[in-house]
């Protein structure tokens, strides 16, 4: 079952001077078992949209079908609690959600909230640790003595331990160094491949979109501006520029080469394809 969103609207503080429509009629169908990027400028409605996916926000109008739940206006929190288990939502800087004395307790906090027995929760913790690249020696350490990157992995383990069907990540690599960012992204790619988890990635980093995602959703001012597969997306750099996002280096190079008079086919969006198309146009040898 894919995620089906129909005419979703969300208005903050309705009826007050601070009334603000963050989402204005979103129609989307997000395929399962794939990695989909959600991009857009600050204020485009990305965060509001992802908070609907696990029932943190209830729509003002429209509907949302996800993991067998039919979300519509006026639902109560009680009605959607189980959805939070099926859709794991990782916020920006998730290391700031750690609070327990030991890593084991912190990761087990989620399952216990959903009624899992302590012993069983601890078993789940042991299973999830290696997924985020940590071993059992960490179980009894305090989360607060870890490095920033490690803390973030513990926090993500705290969501993965709920065994979600869908994982939603809001800027998961913000503030990490290139090494940490790469490890983080390959973790999500692996989860998607090996465990078939549907991954939704909110990001500004087009290099990550290019390397790890299959589909792209572009939001602008609370509306869906484009949805496409990643290949079509990068064949249209003007889509990125129209919402003020810098295309990845490869696409920028391609555009610059076209401007300099080279003939580059639209579908050349990999280093290999770009070089192959250059070959007949410049001096080269084998």
């Amino acid at each position: 079952m894919s995620i089906e969103i129909n005419n979703l609207e969300h208005v903050y503080n309705p009826g007050s001077v601070f009334e603000h429509a963050a989402l204005k009629g979103i129609d989307l169908s997000i395929p399962e078992h794939e990695v989909t990027a959600i991009i857009g400028q600050t204020g485009s409605g990305k965060s509001t949209l992802v908070q609907h996916l696990n029932g943190l926000l209830i729509p003002s109008a429209g509907t949302l079908d996800i993991c067998g739940f039919h979300i519509q206006p006026l639902l109560k929190i009680k009605d959607v609690k189980e959805l939070r288990r099926k859709v794991g939502l990782v916020f920006q800087f998730p290391e700031y959600q750690l609070f327990e004395e030991t890593i084991e307790k912190d990761i087990a906090f989620g399952p216990k909230n959903f009624g899992t027995e302590e012993a069983e929760a601890n078993e789940l913790v042991k299973k999830v640790l290696p997924l985020v690249g940590l071993d059992e020696s960490y179980l009894n350490r305090s989360p607060f003595e870890l490095s920033g990157g490690q803390k973030r992995r513990v926090a993500i383990a705290g969501i993965l331990v709920l065994q979600p069907e869908i994982l939603v990540l809001d800027e998961p690599t913000a503030g990490l160094d290139p090494k940490g960012a790469k490890e983080m992204m390959s973790l999500f790619a692996r989860l998607n491949k090996e465990q078939n988890i549907t991954v939704l990635l909110v990001t500004h980093d087009m290099e990550h979109v290019m390397r790890y995602c299959q589909n792209v959703i572009v939001l602008d001012h609370g509306k869906v501006k484009h949805t496409s597969d990643v290949k079509t997306f990068f064949e249209h750099p003007e889509w990125m520029e129209s919402i003020g996002i810098n295309p990845p280096s490869l696409i920028r190079l391609k555009e610059m080469l076209i401007k300099a008079g080279f003939e580059i086919p639209t579908e050349a969006i990999t280093t290999e394809a770009l070089i192959a198309s250059l070959k007949g146009q410049v001096k080269s040898h084998e």
Binding site: R84, F91, F109
Partner: protein
Amino acid sequence: MNRIALGRYLPLGSIVHEMDPRSKIMIMLFLMISIFIPAGVWGYVLIGIYIMICLVLSKLEFSYALRSMRPMVWMMVFLLIINCFAIRTGTLWFSIFGLGIYSDAIYQTLYIVVRLTLMIIITTILTATTKPLDLTLGIEKLLKPFEKIGLPAHIIAMMISIALRFIPTLIEETQRIMNAQASRGVDMENGSFKEKIMAVLSLVVPLFVSSFDRADQLANAMEARGYDPNKPRTRYKVLHMHSIDYVGMVTSALVLAVCIVLAVVL
């Protein structure tokens, strides 16, 4: 959030907004003292008229000032009930359910209600017409003379202004952590007592951790920019008294004087 009127700055651009925060604080002090002087009905009439003039000059609506009293209504009702039981002097006016209601009980309650109302309106005028930072600066300047006896006025003012600066940031942070924990199944509203304790802990601990982080980074940034609490500083914002400020202070001092006279004569 947006329904709370008490303590909010409203940029209405009135003559009261233009006044020096120091004089506004002084006027407030004079009026507060006047309110607590037992000057009888005429004292309260005088103060009431004075405050109404302030309210009109500050372009605030009367209903807005009253709205800031909403949280106090239940307290007042409670007070009335207590007084009805406790005060049994004066003339017996009527009785309900066998309980005699005496005139003094009503008068006493009325006095307190009038006092509270006047005080809340004064505070509302002050906070609605003065930006928090100007208020801080005003307090700092007024406390300046006390630095001689060791009161660190400028440090207190710096602390207040940084606290004010970070309130919105911390509200945002709280919201984010609450959402993050809700995504881990925390339910802030339902659940057993033990679950509620855990829910609160899961919010408070991360909030503390991140606030300490922030404080540390902020201290570094301040120090790197040359801040030293023990060294003299110049100030960007300067306060200027105008004739309206002197008029305000003199008239409010007069109100106070009249109230004292009334209290002595009565």
